[in-house]
């Protein structure tokens, strides 16, 4: 699904990713943990194609294609989805417009016809209900005036509708109350399938109780310094990051 080899990236003159390698196979769930400022969001953004980051080395292959060579919208159409740590507010563009425009852009890319209005609305309504969001959210500006938790649920709503192959969740659990966390986790679990992979950035073991990862990585100072099974997350929860030799590579 995704093969990252020795990826290095910087912002302005500051090196942030210092050689990241990661293999994600279809159907796998990878958790990435690590201290604040270690480069987790940077990695997510570089994968999604945000400008402002300069890739100075390494490669990223997604479904056999050079991901770094694609524009952000091409990546999205090819099935890469980033749930943002801080989703932006876009007043004046309603959620329903965005959902429809996005879905149609992706369908067009696949050679499918535009989504039928008769099918679209019921499908969206079913999804929004399962995320325990009010239908009114559809007609509001994208994330406009949404609470922190509502924004995160809205990201998952988009993900559920766009049905990507590679889902990158950047701290989707942060800012969610306990019930919302459960709802979001159920939403993610419902999407799990043998041909869909997840990269979940999180600070909390709790999310991983709901969504069981195959691999847990620790990202520190721009490198993956340790990888392990789900038990690694428990260990981190107990001991923090201090015990890991941050110079080491897993």
């Amino acid at each position: 699904m995704l093969s990252i080899k020795n990826l290095q990236a910087r912002v302005e003159d500051k090196a942030i990713l210092k050689g990241i390698s990661l293999e994600v196979k279809p159907g796998e769930v990878h958790a990435i943990m690590g201290p604040n400022g270690s480069g987790k969001s940077t990695l997510s953004h570089v994968l999604a194609g945000r400008s402002g980051y300069e890739v100075t080395g390494g490669s990223v292959t997604y479904q056999g294609k050079d991901l770094l060579d694609m524009k952000p919208e091409e990546r999205a159409r090819e099935g890469v989805f980033l749930a943002f740590q801080y989703p932006v507010e876009i007043p004046g563009v309603s959620n329903i417009y965005l959902l429809k425009a996005a879905l149609n852009a992706i369908r067009k890319h696949r050679g499918d016809s535009e989504v039928d209005a008769m099918d679209f609305l019921p499908m969206v309504k079913a999804r929004i209900k399962s995320l325990n969001l009010d239908e009114q959210f559809l007609y509001r500006g994208v994330n406009e005036g949404f609470s922190g938790g509502e924004k995160k649920r809205n990201e998952i709503l988009q993900m559920a509708i766009l049905e990507p192959s590679l889902c990158i969740l950047d701290e989707t659990d942060s800012g969610l109350d306990i019930d919302a966390l459960k709802i979001v986790a159920d939403g993610v679990n419902a999407l799990r399938s043998p041909d869909r992979s997840f990269i979940m950035v999180t600070h909390y073991q709790r999310l991983l109780d709901y969504i069981k990862p195959d691999v847990v990585h620790v990202l520190a100072q721009g490198r993956i310094v340790k990888s392990g099974g789900p038990e690694l997350a428990h260990e981190l929860e107990e001991k923090g990051y201090g015990w890991i030799d941050q110079g080491a590579t897993a």
Binding site: A48, R50, G52, K71, E73, V88, G92, A101, A102, A105
Partner: protein, 435 residues
């Protein structure tokens, strides 16, 4: 032969020629105009808008209407079905295209050329009440030259069943349309008036329209204007209103067309009057769009809310000048004005000039101006959802502008403004396919 000389040759063809008071008024206005000429950038109020091309280029009133099929198509497309409409083709009233069926006796909606024959005294009292030839040459020019216009009188407490549309179509190259509209609402009367200006593609002409509005105590006028003339048109539109005590004036202005266009909206607010000005301009191509507003709080306790959004793309230029004047006796004035602007290219320019002139001490006045660009973060967010960059930019630009469009209460007019907005969005190849 300049315009003032030219006036001598056409004056006898102008409506109301046999009325001595009008002839005197026109002659005086022509003298004012020949002294001042069209306003020049040397005048502070015209600093950003240089209309010397009009002086050089000679526009002349067309005696016969232009290509009737071209006009018919534009009219067909822009005449709003649910209104009483007065249609002007190249500045000449067209009875055939206008729709006034079912108009009750009590309400007067007719061309001013006809009103000058039927109600000359009433026209006399209304003309030059809200507009003043001494303000600048355009008003003097308009007063001397006006060939037709609308005469709308809604008596006390009357509320016409339908909105009233004034539809202007320009079809003839080098044509000159000079229109004077008079609108008067009696005590507690209410009305909606929509002014629509459109033109045949590529037609270079000059439109000069002045609308005078008189709102008696507690009257309420919703007034809309869409300026979507052709790429080569010069447009001047002045809307001058006088609000008596507790009168309410809500104006929404949308400007997209023309080569060089200026709209002035000035209102004089009496005691406890309410005024809402909303507007949108999108200067694309090489257009120059200028909006000039003055709200004069004259009576106490009046409330004004002004909100304008401007966009300039390519080599377009936008000018917004918003002045609020609070007279000494206008205590408890409550005035807010804001102007938000979006620059879409390096060559585009927007000049925004808010001004507060406050001569009373117990008032609440606020204003704010911003000039910005599309947010890179928002563009990326949309791209990350599969939307290409050009569409993302269009979507965000549309969203910015559409908030003003949404304020339009009349469905048909709102749709026309939205269509004009979409047609003028910069990335023309992708427009609207996400709608």
């Amino acid at each position: 032969m300049d315009y003032a000389e030219h006036y001598q040759t056409v004056s006898t063809d102008l409506p109301g020629h046999s009325l001595s008071w009008l002839q005197a008024l026109r002659t005086r206005a022509n003298i004012d105009f020949s002294t001042s000429g069209f306003p020049s950038p040397r005048e502070e109020e015209w600093r950003y808008t240089n209309i010397t091309p009009i002086e050089k280029k000679r526009f002349t009133p067309k005696v016969s209407a232009g290509d009737p099929s071209a006009a018919a198509e534009l009219i067909q497309h822009h005449r709003l079905d649910d209104t009483w409409s007065l249609v002007f083709v190249d500045g000449v009233y067209s009875a055939g295209h206008s729709r006034l069926t079912g108009l009750p006796e009590s309400i007067q909606i007719l061309p001013i050329s006809e009103a000058l024959e039927r109600y000359p005294e009433k026209v006399h009292t209304m003309l030059q009440q809200a507009a003043d030839c001494e303000t600048h040459g355009f008003i003097a020019f308009n007063t001397a030259y006006f060939r037709d216009g609308a005469f709308i009188v809604i008596p006390d407490k009357q509320v016409p069943e339908r909105p009233i549309q004034l539809l202007h179509v320009s079809t003839q190259a080098e044509g000159l349309s000079v229109l004077r509209h008079l609108i008067s609402l009696g005590i507690h009367a209410q009305a909606t008036v929509i002014e629509t200006y459109v033109g045949e593609k590529e037609t270079a002409c000059l439109t000069a329209a002045v609308t005078e509005i008189d709102l008696a105590a507690n009257a309420h006028l919703d007034h809309y204007k869409l300026q979507n003339e052709s790429d080569r048109t010069f447009h001047f539109g002045g809307i001058y209103s006088d609000q008596k005590a507790s009168a309410r004036f809500r104006q929404n202005h949308a400007a997209f067309g023309g080569l060089m266009a200026r709209t002035e909206i000035h209102s004089h607010l009496g005691q406890a009057a309410e005024c809402d000005l909303d507007g949108l301009f999108l200067a694309s191509g090489r257009r120059h769009l200028d909006t000039h507003t003055i709200l004069r709080h004259h009576g106490a306790h009046a409330v004004s809310r002004e909100s304008y959004r401007g966009i300039a793309s390519e080599r377009g230029r936008g000018v917004f000048s918003g002045r609020i004047v609070v007279d000494p006796q206008a205590q408890k004035t409550d005035a807010e004005m804001n102007n938000r602007n979006l620059l879409l290219s390096d060559d585009a320019e927007i000049d925004s000039k808010p001004q507060l002139e406050i001569h009373a001490d117990d008032v609440k006045c606020a204003h704010g101006v911003t000039v910005g660009q599309l947010s890179a973060e928002s563009i990326f967010y949309l791209q990350s959802r599969g939307i290409d960059e050009a569409s993302a930019r269009n979507m965000l630009t549309f969203a910015f502008a559409n908030e003003m469009v949404e304020k339009i209460r009349h469905d048909g007019h709102r749709q026309q403004v939205r269509d004009a907005l979409l047609a003028n969005l910069p990335q023309t190849d992708v427009r609207g396919d996400w709608l």
